[in-house]
């Protein structure tokens, strides 16, 4: 990690640590702590897709499947087999990674629209399994009573404590993603984005690199899903449908494809927007569509790109001003 990224991550961490205390000052904002928990969870799954999309250039319309696999594995193991929630979480990540490997090998040979269709189909099949395999998943009704995660005998169930847990996980994922981006495999990934043939001629095993990153995105998705299950203590299939996959895609694209930070910005925007658009009632969906369209049409680097660009100009401007002195 470069010093610049290290600085960014540590200042972000400080911001996240202070935030709930500030929000709690007023009863009008205290509830935003709960919203921030979903921002964290969505940032984690968003980081995974951001790596896949932004760095490997591979689309996935099926990330909800991994989210669901993480949530259901956690739920089923803890409720039906009394497994410790932390082990269940690890198991969820393991199962999702295994499935991602099995699916990734044939899927990632496909490109463009074919890949979009394959991942979409995969997501829908997993959804059908959640819905129909009633003996295991509880079917459309889902199931509840999932125990909360606990630390040294203390259950992490209040908003305040879960906020710190989810953001701890999110920052670890973010740091890991930034490391992947800046590592040798990360550079390999970016070359995949540019051209398969060029990367292959450089001796990069393109297929393997793609599958690896797909597995990482699946593991992140499962981690997010497991956190979701232990936070809500209830799972049912609608949370893991195609529209959630689309939402994750929107998070990454609106936030900004070029950087994993974009996923965090996108997750924040897509979670706070409904809070501010409450007055729109039914038509907030329309607002999402319009925002997505505007971002894709006029700011392909997303909100993060826009902010980074603005910041760049600002610093340049300052530097220029100080040069004059």
């Amino acid at each position: 990690m470069t010093t610049n990224t290290a600085l960014k991550v540590s200042s972000f961490t400080v911001f996240i640590m202070i935030l709930p205390w500030v929000l709690n000052l007023s009863s009008a904002t205290a509830y935003y702590v709960d919203v921030m928990i979903f921002v964290a969870i969505h940032s984690i799954i968003g980081c995974g897709l951001s790596l896949l999309l932004g760095y490997a250039g591979q689309i996935s319309l099926g990330q909800a499947a991994f989210y669901g696999i993480g949530a259901y594995t956690s739920g089923i193991l803890t409720v039906r087999m009394d497994v410790n929630p932390w082990f269940a979480m690890a198991a969820g990540i393991f199962v999702a990674s295994a499935i991602a490997t099995a699916i990734g090998i044939p899927t990632l040979r496909l490109r463009g629209h074919y890949l979009a269709m394959a991942t979409l189909g995969f997501g829908m099949i997993v959804f059908i399994v959640f819905n129909e395999y009633i003996a295991l998943t509880g079917g459309p009704s889902g199931f509840g009573n999932i125990p909360p995660l606990s630390l040294m005998g203390h259950p992490i169930e209040s908003s305040f404590s879960f906020y710190y847990l989810s953001w701890l996980a999110a920052i670890i994922v973010l740091t890991a993603s930034l490391n992947i981006v800046n590592s040798r495999p990360g550079r390999a990934l970016r070359s995949i984005h540019d051209s398969d043939k060029a990367s292959a001629s450089l001796g990069i095993n393109v297929a393997m690199a793609k599958v690896k990153i797909f597995v990482v995105s699946g593991a992140f998705g499962a981690l997010a899903g497991s956190l979701y299950a232990h936070y809500l203590t209830f799972v049912n299939p609608p949370a893991f449908d195609v529209f959630f996959s689309l939402k994750v895609l929107m998070i990454v694209v609106i936030g900004g494809i070029g950087s994993v930070w974009g996923a965090v910005f996108g997750a924040a925007l897509l979670n706070f927007l409904p809070e501010w658009l409450v007055f729109l009632h039914d038509f907030d969906v329309l607002a999402y569509g319009i925002i997505l369209l505007l971002v894709v049409m006029f700011s392909p680097q997303g909100i993060y790109g826009l902010l980074a660009g603005a910041a760049g100009y600002f610093f340049k401007f300052i530097r220029k001003e100080s040069d004059h002195d």
Partner: protein
């Protein structure tokens, strides 16, 4: 002269303003939170519920509020999404500091919100239908339900079938929470009534053509079909049933109880048998029926105000809001006192029949909540025993 008049006017103005604001401070409204599925795939539930909640609050406030204090409704849309429902329930409790929560609309959302209200110790009156919402009652201390359970409607149907010599049936259910819950109760209760389920299949809630499924039923010995779904598929199966010229009767779940379903089926619904809540047949209820005043009033007010047919789902919202009004009038703004009142409510007449709750039963309804009706000449007709 003009100046004095102006000063006089100003001082009167400020006097009125100051007393008015002083009065407002003593008049802090009672806040009730609502989370309903105004959008998303359960919007047909949440939409009339939102309308009804807003209407009932207006009625209460026009009548002078509760103990002289107005009621304020804080309503959020869950988008038919369980995790949204949880976030919004927390928002109602921590930010809006409501006295009680009404909703969510679906069973899935209701199940997800239960741990939140139990932990925060806020009474909730759910609109979901599943029996699991109010059972086991030890784990549902703060949770109440206004919707009669599926089992009651199924008992009524089985009872009616037996009396009409039907003992072999086909069941078709949507693979949704609603459908699966109905299917489970149908299978559990069948042996008790000596009914043989000769065909049992589920289909997706997005299904647009069920002729293939009905064709299979035709190949069995079934003497009747029970369809258990909500939304579009109940219309689709009705139309397909007629198009295939099937002669065995079609029974629908209570979710079919909306005049619009008959209209959408375009004549195909003739002969369909449904157990419905009284609000659906408000016009057919005798004036001396104890439910008549409530049900007829709700129907008249709703249809005047929203210019659309009343639905059974909005009726849940009416019952919940008036139960809360009674509770607040009796015990004041205290969450645990409200819970206690709700738990012991008795003789409350609502759209869903008469409620008699107890610490062992957080619903408080019996088979009387439903009436068997048949579609006749494009309208409902009560089946006379």
């Amino acid at each position: 002269m003009k100046k004095t008049a102006f000063i006089l006017f100003l001082s009167v103005f400020f006097f009125v303003l100051s007393t008015a604001s002083g009065w407002a401070a003593d008049n802090e409204p009672y806040k009730i939170g609502a989370i309903v599925a105004v959008t998303g795939n359960a919007s047909f539930l949440g939409d009339p519920q939102r309308n009804t909640l807003e209407m009932v609050v207006d009625i209460i406030n026009e009548e002078g509020g509760i103990n002289g204090r107005p009621v304020e409704l804080v309503l959020y849309d869950t988008e038919s999404n369980a995790s949204r429902a949880v976030t919004l329930a927390r928002r109602l409790i921590t930010r809006d500091n409501v006295l009680a929560v009404v909703g969510p609309s679906t069973s899935g959302e209701s199940m997800a919100v239960i741990p939140v209200v139990n932990r925060a110790e806020v009474p909730m009156i759910a609109f979901g239908a599943s029996t699991r919402i109010a059972e086991p009652v030890e784990e549902r201390k703060w949770v109440f339900k206004v919707v009669p359970g599926d089992d009651l409607a199924i008992r009524l149907k089985y009872d009616y079938m037996k009396r009409n010599g039907i003992d072999k049936i086909a069941i078709a259910t949507a693979s949704t929470d609603y459908g699966i819950s109905g299917r489970q109760h149908m299978r559990e209760l069948a042996p008790e009534y000596d009914i043989d389920i000769v065909f049992d299949d589920t289909y997706g809630p997005g299904e647009t053509d069920l002729t293939a499924l009905l064709t299979r039923i035709r190949g069995t010995e079934a003497q009747a079909i029970i369809n258990w779904s909500i939304g579009r598929t109940q219309i689709v199966i009705t139309r397909n049933w007629k198009q295939l010229g099937m002669t065995i009767p079609l029974y629908q779940s209570y979710g079919f109880g909306s005049a619009r379903n008959i209209e959408m089926a375009e004549g195909a619904a003739e002969g369909v048998i449904v157990p419905v809540s009284r609000i659906v047949i408000a016009d057919l209820i005798a004036d001396d029926d104890p439910h008549a005043p409530v049900v007829k009033r709700y129907k008249r007010l709703y249809e005047e105000r929203f210019n659309e047919g009343v639905s059974v789902f909005g009726g849940h919202a009416w019952d919940a809001m008036f139960q809360l009004r009674d509770a607040l009038a009796e015990v004041g703004p205290n969450r645990s006192a409200i819970r206690e009142y709700m738990e012991n409510i008795s003789g409350f007449v609502g759209n869903n029949s008469i409620f008699n709750r107890s610490p062992q039963d957080h619903v408080g309804l019996d088979m009387d909540a439903y009436v068997m009706v048949k579609v006749k000449d494009g309208d409902w007709a009560i089946i006379d025993e």
